[in-house]
């Protein structure tokens, strides 16, 4: 049976998830990071992998940027739980003929990102394989009152995003199609940054939160599945960089598709009750509803969301 026949990554994860047993597990599989209570502390654990050819190409990524990206995407997951990063472990799978300078470069990128966040590499593993793989397991911590789960969206909550979406996908497609220019858009793809600092000042007013790694449609679906709600997405309100919109046009695409079904923007998607709306900063892009399913409101017309976001085992964009 192919993975696509059980609904791709989504289906596979559901199939492989068991209910936690230990009472120390505050949150297991099914959020941006796991939460474990250790005495009075709440520790966060997340892992994310970059595979050469799938998540980066050495044609347009420098080794430093690969290392930086590997750290940023994990920091983003810790931040999306309301936490701050502390330590990480690095697993490298290296082709046998890889040059030491390339590995040095990846580590320099990781050290640079670590310095920015005041975090440290505490361990890891180096082994051999046919393709370059970088896997980071990151440990963070959060105060109990700061913890944000996907499962906490309330009916009537507004859905907000912390910044423009679709730029990273536009950047990737510009590279893949060998289109010159649009450097600022391309930079969004090769230099992704965690954005959790944007929401930290008003964390206490947020109900549910997730970071955008697979596109808005996918992230809203995850919030709704975990919160057992539905949602309506106001497509015309999704913020997008004008240069990314222009790039999409040049590529013959609709930038909205990048925002909904692309990924790696690492902005935060969060839900806020109506009474707290004035206390947060962000762009309103939808509302949490009682009825199951996600609807898209676009140019005055409503349609039901059928596909989700970028899925390696289904048709990506």
């Amino acid at each position: 049976m192919e993975i696509s026949s059980i609904g791709g990554e989504f289906g596979l994860i559901k199939r492989l998830t068991k209910k936690p047993i230990s009472s120390d597990i505050i949150k297991g599989i099914g959020d941006d990071a796991a939460v474990i209570k250790v005495e009075s502390k709440y520790l966060l654990f997340t892992t994310d992998t970059l595979v050469e050819g799938d998540h980066f190409s050495l044609v347009y990524f420098t080794p430093e940027k690969i290392g930086k990206k590997a750290v940023e995407i994990n920091v983003s997951d810790i931040g999306a739980m309301g936490g701050v990063p502390r330590f990480f472990l690095v697993s490298l799978v290296l082709p046998r003929d890889i040059q030491v300078e390339l590995v040095d470069g990846i580590y320099h990128g990781m050290w640079e990102a670590s310095k920015k966040y005041g975090i440290e590499i505490i361990g890891g593993n180096i082994t051999h394989g046919p393709t370059l793989v970088i896997d980071i397991c990151m440990i963070g911590e959060a105060k109990e009152e700061d913890l944000k789960f996907r499962s906490n969206a309330k009916v009537g909550d507004y859905i907000l995003v912390s910044g423009p979406l679709g730029s990273s996908t536009a950047g990737l497609k510009l590279f893949l199609n060998h289109i010159d220019g649009y450097d600022e858009v391309k930079r969004k793809h090769i230099e992704p940054e965690a954005k959790f600092y944007k929401v930290r000042p008003f964390l206490k007013h947020i109900n549910a939160m997730i970071d955008v790694s697979d596109g808005l449609a996918s992230e809203v679906t995850r919030i709704c599945e975990e919160s057992k709600t539905g949602a309506i997405i106001f497509c015309d309100s999704i913020p997008m960089d004008s240069l990314a919109v222009e790039a999409a046009k040049a590529l013959g695409d609709d930038a909205l598709d990048y925002a909904l079904y692309g990924g790696e923007d690492f902005e935060l998607v969060f839900t806020v009750s109506e009474k707290n709306l004035a206390k947060v900063k962000g762009y309103v892009v939808g509302k949490i509803t009682t009825d199951q399913g996600i609807r898209l409101l676009k140019e005055g017309k409503e349609e039901v969301l059928t596909k989700t976001g970028y899925d390696h085992f289904l048709t990506g964009i």
Copy 2:
């Protein structure tokens, strides 16, 4: 510059290691697991990776056995620090056409091993890539007095191993050379098990400890490098299974080479002072010395150890 030119994995890890800054880091890179102090608890973190073709072959491994192995090798690292395993995260890189049943099998193997140790999967990541990769990041805990470091060997300590070495390498070579029989030896390769339960009853008498993942020569070298000592290995005293010795003969090899330079036996290598020797259980295979370097005592002759253990970036056996 090739990795082999800087001394393989050993050289690369040295090059990429920085001194820890945070005082919460009790042990950073350079042991079986990292140790972080969280309030009064000592948490252990380790990561280990299995790559198809390098660490297992689907020809002689069932998916269940791959999953089990992935857990056992990480449990072994936690145990070698004097700790017990608690939780783990799983990163999978899956080829796009992989069958769901194979992934199910890997998880069943992981669940089975988890049950044995009373541990749980708390998170992970699934992505796509050309080769099947399973990376586990495991979290354990230890009492302060139980913590065992590679760096704590004392001059005059005896070096002991907890059980026979070389069987896993013999098993692998039997598979690679399509030799029938020797099922018990082959089983040692495809069903490795953490052995830390063997040393737990007398942990307090152990000075330094490490598990055998890359062969005795490599593990003693690591203890000596971290402890700034030398060692002499009593080659004729290394315990080996008689069937593994027989298999080595059939393969035209010397079983001692498997024990010294092979790997994945997951027995423990530990050092004990002379006065505590009667309080522990194990096989004496050497002694810690003041002079730098490792010497091999074999059939009454002494030679200097020049190669280390299995290294993916140097010539393996």
